[in-house]
Symmetry: C2
Subunit: 530 residues, 2 copies
């Protein structure tokens, strides 16, 4: 029905202001009174649950999403693979203190560490170590032990409310243009973060330790289970567990004052190595003008598995899907193709969106034989070379800041784009989304697009309890998604996509990146620094 | 050594202001630089853990505390029993969703419900019911099911900081004299709260249900496990579990939109019915003037068992013990006996302290054959009769508001006592404890003492994260006790006890209670009201 309204729109006729307003009204109506976003969320989070990259659960979710896209009439539904490493999953695991008394501890196996076959029972040793420089102190002391590798620390004192919405002034504070800093050492830090757990595993295995245990980085009996040893041809030897901070510190205190406790750990974790490639999933509403390029919205579909991957990032994923449903249901025929992307491998380092960038936008030389260096050092290698499709991407909107409503958009340092973004956002001021701020954001799938000069943006979202207790935790379930927020998010996203796809004017682009100068042109190398 | 300093103090010589100041200084020094309170906390919380009334763990803890008291040279260390019902404990339990997918749910068996012998696997039915009026709707629909009896509700939005200290103005707001309300219906509400779970158990068992499940009343994967079916001659039939709110609501959502999930529950819970009497534990520093009466400090030693019973109320318990240690270490010879009380049965309804009141202070007629009515209706029966020891109790200080430092004291409606309390508290102003406020407080072991006109008080404490995430929860572990706060608490308590025991002046007492008039002398009974 709605499709007939726009049936006469042709390739070259600009949409009138009245038509645009009418379409926005329809989007709001469809996305609020006819919303399906919470039912999508329910099927994904409750029905399928946590979705670790390349795991059976993520594959199930991808099949489910592809079916939904197909049912709504989207086109060009397809996946694009990238080398990742095996999947990993577990069903049953536990950690119990056996001596000096029985305690069933709150735990999760660390992702991409092996299961235990049989339960492992052993005395613990508290040996805080995070990098090779720490290993020597513990050499010869770990054989037959379960090794607690985190510093226990003390309980936290959370003095900010767990649940928070932004005031206008909070948003305005984000209107700060900052020079991009260029720090090649950042690449080394990233590499170490990924490689040190492997070196730890090697060291502990060589020492005859039986398993290792780390402390949750949040108090309140929440666990996360994040781990990074998923690379092809890599097989860590030792089972590893993350314990709730309270359970970890109890063990550490007992070990400090008396006989080290004996604990028993078990995990049926397994690797899925039948296919080492993970996939991004795409679907489209085709544009009427093939020369006009495309606009895209994306969210990572993969999650950690302590919870159901709800606000990180089932929320963003079902908002993307609901925006697709709304626009498809209204029968829009946009000038530019609207592409919907559900990324994978985000949680392990934005691998899926980086693969997309390298395939479609711009790439640097690969590092043969060292996939880790190839991935984490990618941003710091020069030259960068444009792919033919680079200029076709006219706008990218990423959602990955929880389930809070959209309050505005980050121009991400692209000052020239702010005016147009402001105009597209203006219809949604009554829904609470109106501020355009300059700051740039990091840590999710728009980053590598920005790094190659594509116009890629994130929204400002109400934080709710994302950072305080949900991000990657066992409490990240649908319970903490707000239906009104999710509906608003879907509606605003659909509206932004539609306007970006119809706009006569393209978003201004930043210059294609060249190797940056040193920040301080007068600096000498310090011989004492690595 | 310190004992020698006071060796010359005799029965009738008032302590001089200088002597008193010196003693306070010693208390502060001993309780800070020589503190043992956190080591006591460690032995109790980490070493023994949660202490359900009349359970083996509480018995171990009582033996441990008695040994400590004896080691410090306290006297008259003894227990006083009261009829309670069996103990209860469990080591292993789990709840898993089996269909539509595997989820290991966060749970705890409900206290004083039986174990399962074998794992129970069945489909759930969501049948919210809390009292007999709700049962009819579900008759005939529960056979062979695991019944979810709570309304699922939606996720919480905590907009106050989890961790909080009081400003002076927060404390001043508690300086409110309020008339005591007398509401006999309160007795009925209490009775129903205790009896309804038994009626629920009977109904569900008669219907052929296999087990029941309730929802945690806190979000964030915290569980509590509180239950009240501990009475002698009572044996509930069905195993019961409390699920984390997130896990409970996931089940409920799935049941609402599709085939009800199948879950499996297991618990090795067992009753300990070799002795149906629970015990309070006492220790004393004897007074030099037997006619001067005694002062007392108390905390409940029992806890729930989801965590280690740390801030509720291991904290109060070890503060009581540390105050005893400090005063004993200093060799004080107080005029009045100082009695230290570690109550039991508090969590199930202040049973231990009520038993003390009935034995030593004042009592009402018993209700033969109905222990529940006898206990929960006690406060509302008349006449009340004084026991010979009633006037001997000159001051009672209760600690049961978490591990936050003492910031002042509630005069608990006893306006005449405020001046003396203020004077005793004044040395501790530099430690942050100085305000005396009029409001009364409820819900713990001083309540029944107040109810018989004894001068019984609680301190104002910094709340920290007691109410937000620790009270009765699985996160109630030593991690969330602040060492500086615990040392301050022990010092101030020791100082208050010492001054109360030495004071020439006694705390003013409220009149011995008589049956109150109706609040509204002109009210008629409403025939529509029960």
């Amino acid at each position: 029905m709605a499709a007939a309204l726009l049936g006469g729109a042709s390739v070259s006729t600009p949409v009138s202001a009245d038509e645009l307003d009418g379409r926005i009204d329809e989007i709001v109506a469809e996305g609020t009174s006819q919303s399906e976003v919470m039912l999508l969320a329910h099927e994904l989070m409750d029905g399928i649950g946590g979705r670790l990259t390349n795991s059976p659960a993520l594959h199930r979710a991808q099949g489910w999403a592809a079916d939904k896209f197909a049912g709504w009439g989207l086109t060009n539904i397809h996946t694009e693979p990238f080398l990742f490493g095996p999947g990993w999953s577990f069903d049953n695991a536990y950690a119990q203190m056996i001596e000096p008394r029985h305690v069933d501890m709150t735990m999760i196996p660390v992702a991409w560490t092996p299961g235990t076959a049989e339960p492992i029972r052993a005395e613990i040793v508290v040996a805080p170590m995070s990098k090779p420089e720490h290993f020597d102190e513990w050499r010869g002391k770990l054989s037959g032990k379960i090794v607690l590798v985190s510093l226990p620390g003390t309980g936290d004192e959370p003095t900010r409310p767990a649940f928070r919405r932004l005031e206008s002034k909070d948003i305005a504070e984000r209107d700060r243009f900052e020079e991009e800093t260029y720090d090649p050492d950042e690449a080394n830090r990233r590499l170490e973060r990924v490689r040190n757990p492997m070196l730890l595993d090697e060291f502990l295995a060589a020492e005859g330790a039986l398993a290792w245990v780390k402390k949750s980085y949040r108090d309140g009996k929440l666990v996360h289970g994040s781990g990074y040893t998923h690379w092809p041809d890599l097989q860590p030897s030792l089972p590893a567990f993350e314990l709730a901070a309270e359970d970890y510190r109890r063990l550490a205190r007992l070990a400090k004052t008396g006989t080290p406790p004996t604990i028993e750990v078990y995990s049926d974790a397994r690797f899925h190595d039948e296919d080492l490639e993970a996939e991004n999933l795409f679907a489209e509403i085709p544009g009427t003008d093939r020369s006009a390029g495309y606009v895209m919205a994306g969210a990572h579909f993969d999650s950690w598995v302590a919870g159901d991957g709800a606000v990180d990032n089932g929320a963003g994923s079902v908002a993307i899907m609901e925006a697709a449903r709304i626009l498809s249901q209204l029968g829009v025929r946009p000038k530019r193709t609207i592409r919907f992307a559900l990324w994978s491998g985000e949680e392990q380092g934005l691998h899926g969106s980086l693969a997309y960038v390298r395939a479609h936008l711009a790439d640097r030389a690969a590092v043969p034989g060292d996939l880790i260096e190839d991935r984490y050092g990618w941003r710091y290698r020069w030259p960068l070379e444009k792919k033919p499709g680079h200029d076709d991407l006219k706008a990218y909107f990423n959602i990955d800041n929880g389930s809070g409503r959209l309050r505005g958009i980050y121009a991400e340092g692209n000052l020239a784009a702010a005016r147009l973004l402001k105009s597209w956002l203006s219809p949604f001021a009554p829904l609470g989304a109106e501020q355009v701020v300059t700051s740039d954001t990091s840590g999710t799938d728009h980053v590598y697009m920005q790094a190659v000069g594509a116009p890629a943006f994130q929204f400002v979202q109400d934080p709710l309890d994302y950072g305080s207790r949900l991000h990657h935790t066992s409490a990240d379930t649908l319970d903490h998604m707000r239906p009104e927020d999710m509906r608003q998010m879907s509606v605003v996203l659909a509206g932004m996509l539609y306007q970006a796809a119809m706009s006569d004017e393209e978003l201004p682009r930043v210059p294609f990146p060249a190797e940056p100068n040193r920040t301080d042109p007068f600096a000498y190398d310090d011989p004492d620094e690595d």
